[in-house]
């Protein structure tokens, strides 16, 4: 068990900048991987975690080169091997599972053929043995009907199934070490939980060592025996998973764990100030100095070494770690948010809204109607009160973004009405809305890289809505822009910057400022934090909450992340296949009884705590179309009671907690089932 299979020694990897300076991305990294052990490498984007993982299989990205150190796999240095020698090791000894299996599989070859290729390359089996092995592998990764699965093409599989095929291919060569680079990041919550469960099973079953790279501490917590925390190209903390997650003794890890929203906590997570330094910008002192609340003068001048603490079996890179020992109960705290006045007026009302993506037939075009019996989004009734944050939650394909687009007028509704302020119907055609209604509803997008024009300065970006809605110009325009930047905690000097000169969090702040420039009544937030790093996400959530409390704005917040929704929302609407399943005050939706789908979703959430295991109550099948009759969740429901679920649309039931559930099962019975 204690045999070391790969060991990295003093590894530094870097590149030459345009000015000829040598800049390192990895700095002096040393770690060991033991046989049968799963090591989680965690860090924010740019921390060097992927570079380290790839170097561990002897691969260095173009433009980068090793500066010093070695990667010893069974006492041979991978970085000095020729590509011929590496060929014998990769796949056979070290295998990799990519982030996006959909892109890693060849689209025009059958699954079985692709696994067969891996087997041909890495084993000496003959044809019949290989065929047997293929179905064995497919069985092992728990794909449904492995016999027929081999004859399918990658596009016929769902994302989770594709990821399973990638796992099967990696296992084909019986590797000693499996490398996983964010293997579950693109997947839905329930699928993610299932894939992680599979990986844990495989690690135990085959005794393979694994290196699991992720930014998501929740996923890492589920699979890892040991955790390595990276920051700015260095290992800052390394030790047994439980110790790291329960009693983090490095201020960065501590802050990171605090900034993750948790299901068990209402209220907003604490945020860390600042962002990770760029490679090459640290000259002296600790790389975390800028953001650390334990920092003193010593930290500014001297860079701490990785220190081994025997009693905790942990390596830590901090001078003041002792201050963090024994004060970790504070991990379970959050910032309470002001609750809004629930008596407030209705500001937006969705009444029987249906939206269809179906192409109009010729006659329907002439008659200007949409005749789709089974639209993507159907019968949405939501009343949104002034000043509240209502969250729409669901997995991909649940129609949450579609509804948002309709409210913004970017997508026509098929039926139903969207009413704004005292029963004034908003046209579903953007061009027919009056300028004041357009001003009142603003959007913030998921990815600020796409939502900010790369060729505009921050000043130009923010002046667009100000010019359009308020006709401002000259000094007044400038004054307003500075005010807006102040509101989102950015300085005046940001005005002349281009988006590419800003960090992810800063860009999203600019996007937030642009939305607020219109002095809107409602802001539609479309997954606004999912492209951001965890520590930055907390800061943006806090900013949004602060702005809402100051300005009384209403948010419609779309997210797939139940913990984020828990942190920010007052009310939650759970959607499946474009139909509402449950709606209610957020503290109640997160309690039982709840709709079976909410139960499934909540069970699959990964908490950064090794003691809280996800509860997998439903299969992770992907349904492409909503069912034509009956309950939308009939296909996956773990509590399905019979034919009635297939034939009749379930009625609304209101629980004593105030949440409304759409289910055939009596709400009291549901409560006793879920106890």
């Amino acid at each position: 068990m204690n045999e070391i299979i790969e060991s990295v020694k003093n590894l530094s990897i870097g590149f030459n900048s345009q000015k000829g300076k040598q800049i390192s991305i990895l700095r002096n990294v040393s770690t060991n991987i033991k046989k049968g052990e799963t090591v989680g490498i965690v860090g924010e984007s740019g921390s060097g975690k992927s570079t380290l993982a790839l170097a561990m299989m002897g691969y260095i990205k173009q433009g980068l080169f090793p500066l010093k150190g070695e990667c010893l796999f069974k006492s041979e240095d991978l970085l000095k091997m020729s590509s011929r020698q590496l060929e014998k090791i990769r796949g056979r000894k070290i295998a990799m599972i990519p982030q996006n299996a959909g892109q890693a599989l060849t689209p025009n070859l059958k699954i079985g053929y692709q696994i067969d290729e891996a087997l041909k390359l890495h084993t000496d089996l003959n044809k019949t043995e290989r065929d047997k092995k293929i179905s064995e592998l497919l069985h092992k990764v728990r794909l449904p009907s492995p016999e027929t699965m081999a004859f399918r093409y990658p596009h016929e599989l769902s994302g989770g199934q594709q990821q399973r095929v990638a796992v099967a291919m990696a296992l084909a060569g019986k590797p000693d070490l499996l490398l996983l680079d964010e293997p579950t990041t693109g997947l839905d919550v329930t699928t993610q939980a299932h894939v992680l469960e599979l990986l844990r099973f495989i690690a135990k079953d085959t005794g393979t060592s694994m290196i699991y790279v992720s930014h998501d501490l929740g996923a890492i917590a589920q699979v890892s025996d040991r955790i390595v925390v990276m920051y700015a190209g260095e290992i800052v903390l390394e030790g047994p998973a439980r110790k790291i997650l329960k009693e983090p003794i490095h201020p960065y890890t501590y802050g990171l764990l605090k900034s993750i929203p948790k299901l068990s906590l209402a209220g907003l997570p604490a945020s860390m100030p600042g962002s990770q330094p760029q490679p090459g910008s640290i000259n002296e002192g600790c790389s975390f100095y800028d953001r650390c609340n334990l920092a003193n003068d010593n930290c500014k001048k001297n860079s701490p070494d990785l220190e081994h603490i025997k009693e905790l079996d942990t390596n830590v890179r901090c001078f003041n770690y002792k201050e963090l020992i024994n004060q970790n109960n504070n991990l379970q705290t959050s910032i309470t948010k002001k609750s809004n006045n629930s008596e407030a007026n209705e500001v937006l009302k969705l009444k029987d809204v249906s939206i269809s993506y179906a192409k109009q037939k010729f006659f329907d075009q002439l008659l200007n109607k949409i005749s789709d019996q089974n639209p993507t989004v159907k019968d949405i009734n939501i009343d949104i009160k002034k000043g509240e944050t209502i969250a729409l939650v669901g997995e991909s394909g649940s129609g949450k973004s579609t509804i948002l687009k309709s409210i913004a007028g970017l997508l026509k509704t098929k039926d139903g009405q969207i009413k704004f302020e005292k029963d004034r119907i908003l046209s579903s055609d953007l061009k027919k809305r009056n300028p004041n209604d357009l001003r009142a509803i603003q959007l913030i997008f998921q990815n600020p890289d796409e939502s900010l024009n790369p060729n505009h300065t921050v000043e130009q970006i923010l002046s667009q809505p100000l010019k359009l809605y308020f006709n401002l110009s000259g000094d007044e325009l400038k004054k307003n822009i500075i005010d807006l930047l102040k509101k989102v905690r950015l300085g005046e000097f940001y005005m002349s910057r281009y988006p590419r000169q800003l960090s992810g969090g800063e860009k999203q702040r600019v996007a937030v400022a642009r939305a607020f420039a219109a002095k809107p009544d409602i802001i539609l937030c479309d997954e606004v934090t999912s492209a951001l790093d965890v520590s930055v996400q907390a800061a943006v959530l806090n900013l949004l909450q602060q702005l809402k409390e100051d300005l009384g704005t209403t948010y419609v917040f779309v997210s797939h992340d139940l913990a984020v929704v828990r942190a920010i929302s007052d009310r939650v609407a759970v959607l499946y296949q474009g139909r509402l399943c449950e709606i209610g005050p957020s503290q109640n939706v997160y309690k039982f009884p709840s709709h079976p789908y909410t139960e499934v979703l909540l069970g699959a959430v990964l908490e950064p705590d090794p003691d809280i295991k996800p509860k997998l109550v439903a299969e992770d099948i992907v349904e492409e179309k909503p069912p034509e009759k009956g309950c939308s969740f009939q296909g996956r429901c773990p509590r399905k009671i019979g034919d009635i679920c297939n034939s009749e649309v379930p009625p609304w039931q209101i629980g004593e907690n105030g949440n409304a559930i759409r289910c055939h099962i009596n709400i009291d019975e549901l409560a006793s089932l879920q106890q």
């Binding site: 962002s275 939502s451 024009n453 800063e506």
Partner: protein, 297 residues
């Protein structure tokens, strides 16, 4: 803290930016050669009337078809005119006509392409099919028809060439627009209720400008070739104005024994075309829109 992220990209005004791009272009040998050739031709076109040693239209029976010598550096042509004089003057009309022609092509092709890309739907379909129809007509035939109806003055040639060379730019501009149109910042501008014109001007043009400019530069060199072909066929510049295409056409019958009178204009024309091509390539690379880089394997 967050501000230390901004290290290299300092704020520059537009002139400094243009200078920066020129510097990047000149940093590679091919770009430097291209820029030098183009600069040489432009300067030559500007000063040639003042440095020409002879009168370009002076005919003399005594000096017919003389070989290159100290007096006549590039020899003389069949009418006894100095080939050096006519060569250095011969690029003036071509450069002017094609420069303004490309500008026109850029303007109408670029704007129409962007518009089609933005509005899409039926308007886009109809316009693109019309453009396709024009693309299928051999341009030289259509040009011949136009000049034979309207004459060969520059006022006819510039818009006519501009029209025929703009069709390709429509496609490029439309494709470049399609690349940015799905981005969220356009959706965001739409949702705010900006007009199409404002979206084109503020959001799209800054993002497609570079691609269209590079395409325009390429078209310029093609148009130069096209214009010279017209002159060669006798539909471009009318004699006795010196022009490379015309000079090649006049001297080609005597190529076997008076090669000098045909080589000089050929060198002039081809060097300018190569120069513009190299410059356009370097321009594309400097702006970072060149797609010929290796796949990151």
């Amino acid at each position: 803290m967050e501000s230390n992220l901004i290290t290299e990209d300092k704020q520059k005004n537009k002139l400094e930016k243009a200078f920066e791009i020129l510097k990047t272009m000149a940093s590679k040998p091919s770009g430097l050669i291209g820029l030098t050739i183009v600069l040489f031709h432009v300067v030559l076109a500007l000063i040639s009337p003042y440095i020409a040693p002879y009168d370009y239209k002076a005919i003399s029976p005594n000096t017919m078809l003389l070989a290159p010598s100290a007096e006549h550096w590039f020899g003389t042509d069949s009418l006894g005119r100095d080939v050096f004089t006519r060569t250095i003057l011969g690029g003036r009309t071509a450069l002017t006509v094609t420069f303004f022609g490309s500008l026109i092509a850029l303007l109408w092709g670029g704007l129409l392409g962007i518009f089609c890309g933005l509005v899409g739907g039926k308007i886009d379909d109809v316009v693109m099919r019309v453009v396709d129809a024009f693309l299928s007509i051999p341009w030289i035939l259509a040009m011949l028809l136009i000049v034979s109806l309207l004459g060969t003055s520059t006022e006819v040639l510039i818009p006519a060439l501009g029209f025929f060379y703009g069709k390709g730019i429509v496609r490029v501009a439309r494709a470049a627009t399609h690349d940015v149109i799905a981005k969220d910042f356009i959706v965001s501008a739409r949702a705010r209720g900006h007009s199409n014109m404002s979206i084109i001007w503020n959001e799209i043009i800054p993002n497609v400008r570079d691609a269209i400019l590079v395409e325009g530069a390429m078209r310029w060199s093609w148009m130069l070739l096209g214009f010279s072909s017209l002159s060669f066929l006798g539909f471009g510049v009318s004699p006795p104005t010196p022009d490379w295409g015309l000079m090649i056409s006049n001297a080609r019958g005597l190529m076997s024994f008076a090669y000098w009178s045909v080589i000089a204009p050929i060198v002039g024309l081809s060097s300018l075309i190569i120069g513009i091509n190299l410059t356009a390539d370097a321009f594309a690379k400097a702006l970072g829109i060149d797609r010929s880089t290796k796949a990151p394997v």
